[in-house]
């Protein structure tokens, strides 16, 4: 075992040709590894000769460093030589201390609002951003306002039962925690916080390929009887993919959700711009387009863009987990999925992060259900949906349209980032409370009572857009006013 290395020694290796970094107390020589880093050369170079732990942590599972070749490990750092860093007094920490009590959170937007103030700007940009003009991102929420409810009255709704089954697993709510990346950007412990909250509340968690925590960490955190699924980005190297699948299955994952809407991660300009700002001081000359593409592209270069329908058979051959295709957005592909014999699909546009002006999940769901029914395949597989779900009524609408369950992503991250596990649990309670009220007021005591005619879909596919504005006539029009706004003095 090598002797301890001093920080002064590490600091000398601070160039592209000679690049050492410290991660979790160990020193690595990454000079040769630079070119293979999926996130590009730059993020590592910025840490050359320094302790990279803080930058490394949210983006990589802890055990990823173990996959580096042994000879790159130069030894452990001498902790007594590390500079004592004053914890930077960020607006984040002061915001944290000033945040409202958890009991003041009454809906998912409240968590988002607190998270926006307490998250590091880079984390907020990564979590909240969408593709291009973010029209699909916003549309995911806005689409629900084009569905109106037709409630029934004088039905005995004393007892409300929100339970159902997902891929054969019982769940107390028709909701699951979908896969999201980089949980440690929001909470130092990352996705295991979601695992623990899911365990407490009985929800199913979908473990992400790109989590800050590894599958093992998430599996370790689960309680007796708790169900997890595994979300897969397919690697260009199929042996890596196979290893991931087998590992997840061995750790008890009860469903394999293959992401099919991301042969390339989308352009998220908020994320790109944030990255750019951070890097700006070192920019000396015009960059190529390919640089500074934000966290999304940095972590995703391994994803295989050649994945095709013909690959489904292979997945079936290497796992017994039920296979669900995540990211279906058209009726035609839903029918193809059913014919390919998968157990389910998730109608999803990837949280509005991939293709701008793609339709909302809830709108695509309508087309998907129609196509499956027309083909007599609506019972051949389970249909899930995600994208913009925030209210109990949103969930109700999806169920009425034929979805078996609904995935939520960002809301859990915001709840976790602002209040940790307590926050996530309270969010579960709030959603359950909202859904129960809706079911009671709709006259539907159980999930089975929810029927298509209770939702009015007439305008769901309406996209009138923002009409051009006429400025001149508005310049001289004086809107009516009410008395008393400024007190009697206005009269």
């Amino acid at each position: 075992m090598p002797s301890l290395i001093s920080y002064q020694e590490v600091a000398k290796h601070n160039s592209r040709e000679d690049c050492w970094v410290i991660i979790h107390g160990n020193v690595y020589d990454l000079s040769q590894f630079l070119a293979q880093h999926p996130g590009g050369v730059r993020p590592i170079l910025k840490q050359a000769g320094k302790d990279a732990t803080k930058a490394f942590e949210p983006i990589h599972p802890r055990n990823m460093v173990d996959q580096l070749p042994a000879h790159l490990h130069k030894g452990a750092i001498d902790p007594t030589t590390l500079p004592v860093l004053a914890e930077s007094s960020t607006s984040t920490s002061s915001a944290l201390s000033a945040k409202p009590p958890l009991s003041a959170m009454f809906n998912s937007f409240d968590f988002e609002s607190v998270a926006r103030q307490t998250l590091h700007p880079e984390a907020w940009a990564y979590y909240s951003s969408g593709a291009d003009d973010e029209l699909t991102l916003q549309e995911n929420h806005a689409a629900f306002h084009r569905i109106w409810l037709r409630p029934r009255v004088l039905v005995n709704v004393k007892n409300i039962d929100m339970g159902t089954t997902f891929l054969g697993t019982k769940t107390p709510l028709p909701v699951y925690i979908t896969a999201t990346a980089l949980g440690k950007l929001g909470h130092p412990e990352g996705e295991v916080v979601l695992t623990r909250a899911a365990g407490r509340k009985g929800l199913i968690q979908m473990m992400p390929t790109l989590g800050s925590c590894s599958v093992d960490e998430m599996a370790d955190a689960k309680v007796e009887g708790q169900t997890q699924w595994f979300q897969l980005y397919v690697n260009g190297d199929r042996s890596v993919t196979e290893k991931l699948i087998r590992r997840a299955e061995s750790r008890g994952a009860a469903g394999l959700f293959i992401t099919v809407d991301a042969p390339q991660l989308g352009r998220r300009e908020k994320d790109m711009r944030t990255k750019f700002v951070d890097d700006a001081p070192s920019v000396q000359s015009p960059d190529s387009v390919q640089r500074s593409q934000g966290a999304a592209r940095a972590i995703s270069t391994f994803i295989d863009p050649s994945l095709a329908w013909s690959d489904i058979a292979w997945f079936k051959s290497i796992t017994r987990m039920p296979i669900v295709l995540k990211g279906i957005q058209s009726g035609d592909d839903a029918v193809l999925a059913a014919r390919a014999g998968v157990a389910g699909i998730v109608v999803s546009n990837h949280g509005g992060r991939q293709l701008d002006t793609a339709r909302s999940g809830i709108e695509a769901l309508a087309e998907v259900m129609n196509a499956l029914r027309a083909a007599g395949l609506d019972r051949a597989l389970e249909v899930y949906v995600d994208g913009g779900f925030r209210r109990g009524s949103d969930i109700f609408k999806a169920l009425a349209m034929g979805a078996r369950g609904v995935g939520l992503g960002r809301p859990w991250l915001y709840a976790m980032s602002s209040y940790g596990q307590d926050g996530v649990e309270r969010l579960v309670d709030l959603l359950a409370d909202e859904l129960a009220v809706v079911m009671r007021l709709m006259g539907t005591p159980t999930i089975a009572d929810i029927r298509p005619e209770m939702v009015i879909l007439k305008d769901l596919a309406s996209h009138a857009g923002q009409p051009p504005r006429d400025a001149l006539s508005k310049r001289t029009y004086e809107p009516l006013d009410v008395p008393g706004r400024g007190g009697a003095s206005k009269l």
Copy 2:
């Protein structure tokens, strides 16, 4: 009769286990009653050892305290021992003194504007709030703007007669005062103010179950020949319900309006948040979701969620009042109501306070009338409607669509809160004036002349929603300007 109790003595009993309060000069020991209080433990505990009259008054009819078991009554307070409280110089009182003269009120919005400034924030929150995102609340008003008028000309409109009959009672206007709760939040005398104004103007008042005044108080306030109806929340304990119905009937109520859209009161977050703010100082630990749910839930826990169509027969068996179901929102339920043999229905979404993204009353009315006509039942019962009515043209539109009459709720509360009985009467005059103008300009001298083809319903069911906003193109577009806005210097 016990001797007088000193305030100092009462002040000692200030805990959950030993909880005395003063109400209207009497001292009660509520230690045992705490757990049965429909509004929960907290509101009483906040008053432990103190004079609770001010908090008690707007939420309970005065005689409710008489229903407490006699042994809880400890005696009368010694008034000489009460602390002299400086009347808190609230913004409310100063706003009241500065409010515009009544003659400056030209429409119902004017009253609302003054009320917003003069009401206590908690009262404003309770009166003005709607369910969840308040989309249905706003939609109740917005929907009228999707109905456009087709006026006829060259009809003799010298004499306008706005009279009609409701459940056989003549009324000078096709409008009634619908039931609203907690009138003393807005005016120290509560709902009797509305009774008196209704008496002066000949309108029918629907007495609420949850009024600050009791049915007896409201019945006592009526004048010779004045008609009242009774609105009923059905209690889980049917003997209580039966007592209420018989009492109302014995006091002359001419119609029984059973609320069917509230097996549970909706989530009104403005109301919930206001409550939370008030209670905040005493919050030490994260609350459960169930606490601080606002005035709405505090007063409504007794409502029976198991009420069903099969119960209608029982109501018929215990009263001779005509029965009207309040809160129908679908054509199917309207047909069921007609088949159940009730005298009428009120198409209503409860003022947008129950289920968000439920349709406006006026939109549901169109479906209801179509369904009744299709079933040949449109003359089998009277159809009323409420929700968002503010203008004479709103009323005209409902009548043209087939409604017999229109209920207004909040506008009366706002008029009463800002100007008392005079305000309510002026609001009646203003609505009558507006409706008369509309009838004259539409070429309809009497209610019978109002015909369906005079309203254009093509877009009533349009819910295009708010399209996602595109920010970037707006960032650089400079709207056209007109000269002279800043004087010649701009040129």
Copy 3:
């Protein structure tokens, strides 16, 4: 002839029972006349004992005072006794001096903008106001934005001819000056300014019943060959009406436009509120609704609400002027008009001043033309339209839909109020220039070349309205930004 009366003497008669006023240098005892004043008691009482000329002038033709019974005339005022009033230095006069040069006016909105700043607030309120919520007022303009053009190319458009005929009279533009009231509120000379500008530009002017100038004054101001029409409010006393018609005809009016959409003038709250503000100091007790109803109602109480289709024959019997019904808003009434044998109709909602949520003129025109065509009556009479026309393209659209001509009202008032006759003439030039460009770019060298398929009417009748706003999701959404807005410092 009586001796001169001193101002001190007049000042003593300042009560309701003893009320003298000075008008144009003469003294009148109006004590007995008060009750018959069409504008109510109050406006006169405010002038009791004073010189009322300034208040009288914009609202009455100069010769109206001659219609008072002779015995009310007490004599002439002694001008040496009149108080010297400092001309109030209003914001109006300073705004006038600062207004941009006429050459900076590029469209009708520019005139409106200047007029808003230079007009007295009461005049602005009277001219610019609409009924109730002013939705129809705004819709009159907005509706044009729902009609889109389908231009044709490669047509020889070297020479553009915009000429046509109205009721047999040639006009160089398919536009006329419609009747508007109270011109002296905007310009000291009143409607004769429009007469003179119309004479210069060859346009037809419709003389109003409620002008500040009399028909004689307007007829006196016309030049050789200039055509005028007469707009009629029908008086309850038909002998008065007959006198008006015969007078107009004798002065050469070439068309009788009977207003049929105003059995009562609408509620214009801006106008009402402005009046109220002026009167406020004298208000001691709550007013009745009937008081302070703005200029519109003050001048219109004589209008006969019993006017009906059966009266048309009488009009035909007393005049040889072609009769046009102004204010048709439905296809059914257009067919009735054609069957009644009138020469034309004006599709109009009275500038949005009568019935709120009545459709725009341009939208009603589509229904009217369809109904006339369906009845085979579209060539039986001439169809005019007004309401919200501001651009050359607006005029083109109406012509393509089948209108023979277009009336404009407020734009002339604004041009006249801000720049007098020069302003009105420049506005004619601007409209002609705009229309010529549109005709050239549409490929229509003459009016006859304009065809229905050139306008796309698909959404003309769309009234989606303003959807309810969802606040919470907007609270946390951060719109995308562009770099460089605040300079490089933002990066």
Copy 4:
């Protein structure tokens, strides 16, 4: 050769009757030429007796002065006598120094934003303005938001090929640089900057008639194998037109794009108003409408408004270049074009600069393709489209609808104005990157894979417009809020 002329001498000839100006070091007597100047008398008179080079340069190709009759050339200026002018320290130059690095540009809007700050206000007004109310200008962008995408998944999209052919020429992207005028307003070198960038990136440039650079200058700037087209405004004098066409063909232009949508240039009020402001100090009396019409009209008076379908044969007779009609906006004209035997059309509304409330290019494209398909002519010619294209997804949508290629105009000007040739090249890269992402996420590896059913056109022709606003109800509605916006103090 004459001796040098002193600046003092020139300065004496400063009136309409005796008007000398200096251009590029030479002195001209323009007294007689004034009346023939296509841009009117005023622009020259402003330069009388001065050095006009700066004003002349952006508006005229350098060699245009050579077309003046020789006798007007008075000789060369004596450069030693010219006044030394301090370069005016405009906001422009300081903005230029502060502008963000090119690498901070992530989309075309970013360039526009920088250009708005760095361009001279007159140049910005000329480039950015549209006709009348600029509704079509805005609609060109807004229309894309009414087209939504239906992506397909599980297609091998490893290799994306964006190449296609335009009029037989290969192009790496389905995009060309369309003709725009007055390039030197944005960059001192003018359109040759675009030529050089196009050469580097392999794009086709359409050379404008009204460029600041001449066809020769643009042709000189091209590289081996680079393709250019020529855009033609047809002159009233056909011999001039023929000379232009033959010159362009002789310099290698591979396509003749005849502008057919501009018999007269549109009213661009921003441009007109900017001009007016500049001239304002010299305005002494009310102008006629015809003055100060902005740059657009000043440069376009020669355009022949009599151009008609019958002229097409003549064009074919004098050139072998394929002829494309630029500015088609209706299905009928598209069919006429195909029948006239041209090689292609550009569906275009001239960047929203001609006829306001004409439809967007992308909307007209739908009608055009339908008409051509119905006539069996959709393969008879190539269909191009322009107007408001800013995103890769915009381009994708046009291709899916049937366009062969897409023209962009302003974006290149903004990129050129803010960052010169580097800017234009980066914009090409960004558009290519965006389009590649879209093609990958749509499941279309090549242009040929793009199919009509991938775009949802249902609402493309929706023009609901801006509904009238209801002010009163908004005055009292308090939108919901989230906690934490102002920190905990808000609770």
